[in-house]
């Protein structure tokens, strides 16, 4: 499994290759490293092989629906932030995506600069949470070493 700890790896899942490539090209200018997947299966395959910092996921995908892909991603990679994109301006879709664990929702056609900002925020937030979890685990280990079993970091 490849790891790229100091880069911002983003997986773009959209069946429109022009949008995928255009987004990747723009995000590359913003120092993101992007990979593309045209459907859920390809996305799962890439997620197994590479560690990504965020996923940009289209709501409408062939074969496996975007919400189903989101559910699977959140099952396998709970801390991976997912930003949903859709041509629908339907608030119900946004609410459903948020309930399933998406961190953000953008309606097409969106400003890529806005996507870059939201990705940045999502990745930073995710890393902070991750660091907090690591710190908490470290603190617990120290407490158990010093005070013995039964004590925990609050």
């Amino acid at each position: 499994m490849k790891t790229q700890p100091y880069t911002r790896n983003v997986l773009i899942v959209d069946d429109e290759h022009n949008l995928r490539d255009s987004l990747a090209e723009y995000l590359a200018l913003e120092k993101f490293i992007c990979s593309g997947a045209e459907d859920g299966k390809k996305a799962f395959s890439l997620l197994e092989d590479t560690i990504f910092d965020a996923v940009v996921l289209d709501l409408r995908l062939p074969e496996i629906d975007g919400l189903a892909v989101l559910t699977t991603i959140k099952d396998r990679f709970p801390s991976l932030p997912v930003i949903m994109i859709s041509a629908h301006g339907d608030i119900q879709d946004a609410v459903e995506a948020m309930k399933l664990g998406a961190v953000d929702y953008l309606v097409k056609p969106f400003d890529p600069a806005e996507l870059a900002i939201r990705l940045e925020k999502a990745i930073t937030g995710s890393r902070l949470i991750h660091m907090a979890q690591v710190g908490r685990r470290l603190a617990n280990s120290l407490i158990q070493i010093v005070f013995g079993g039964g004590h925990q970091y609050p």
Partner: protein, 429 residues
Amino acid sequence: MGNSLSFRRTIFVLIMIAVASIGVLFVFHTANNHRARIEYRAFQIMTGIVERYGTEESFTPELWSSLIGFGLYNNFGLTLYRFGSAPASILERNAEPGVLNLSEHTVTMIRKLGFVPSINGPSLKFRRKQSLNERTNRIFPHEQGIKKRTPPAHIRFASTVFIEVNVAQLIRQSYIEIGVLIAVFFSLLVAVPLLFRYSERIIQYRDREQRNLNLVQLGEAARTLAHEIKNPLGVIKVQCATLQRVLPEAFHKNIFVIGEETQRLVTMTDRLRGFLQNNSGNPQSISVPALFEQYGIRYGDALRIKPIENSSLVVLVDPDFLVQMLDNLIVNAKEAVLNGSSVPELFCTEGNETASFSILDCGTGVLPEDKNHIFDLFFTKKIQGSGIGLALVKRLAELSGGSTGYRSRKEGGSIFWITVPLAHKGDIS
């Protein structure tokens, strides 16, 4: 379509005139043939009785309820068989064979035997060369297979037959038949135009249904197009942003124009999608004073808001719909005022079941010839207008259970208004 309908109507009228003429002629003809019909029926009875007499052992003329008299006579006019009013001698009646006497109640007929003309009655239609047994079987089918006896000897000597029949029943039957014919004919005369009109209506309904179906399909196609167009628009926007970053500043203005036009397309697509939606959204109770407060903050000095008399005025409408309708009207009002010389005014009045939001401007107004089209889809007089804005306002107002309207002001300018339902106590959460 109109030509086809008028052509069909002309053809129909001609057919009806032809049918009416034929019907009238037929009724007259039937009435004139009244006597012939009775003669014909009497002749049928006579033929039947003679046939029966020649084949049955026990001939009982009483079976014929309408039979008054029946007799068979030889060449000398002397009686061979006599029943009822039949004379003892045919010479006594001083009547020649073939003579028919049709009185008010009876018909009397004297005929020569041995001459049987072809009879076209429903039960007596047979060929000349058929045997007597075959003929009898046809007349009395229930007796088929029974061996017939040889006719009695005296029938072979009979040359003349006399018959007297009570015709009251026949005449009544004849009149009933004519009456029924006339009734059926006039019923048809009334029913056919009704059926024609009904068929016309069915054709009209079918055409209308087809047109509605086409419109629904067109709406679906437009909705799908409005949705699918977002992907290419998204790609253009992303490409514009990329080019903005990588190209020298000299090209930024060009990219800005592309971006601006793309945004116009996005707005038009969104409006078209809004116009094509067919549900009332998510109606919620909205406090009008609170809404006006928000509008005051949003538009500032660019919009004058008249205070509302009823501070607890609440309407029931989808908030997005209401905001979209008001925004469209306010933007139109602002654009109608040249050089921003005056500020549009927003005010609300309360009716029985609805609240009316009005936008007043002191602009150029609407040309008289455009008044009936301003709410039509794609009707616009603006250089960069899409013609969707006011159509969308009307559509959203109707979907919300309200209406929309316009009138010119005497002082110049226009007043556009929308009405939306008032929220009842049960609706207010």
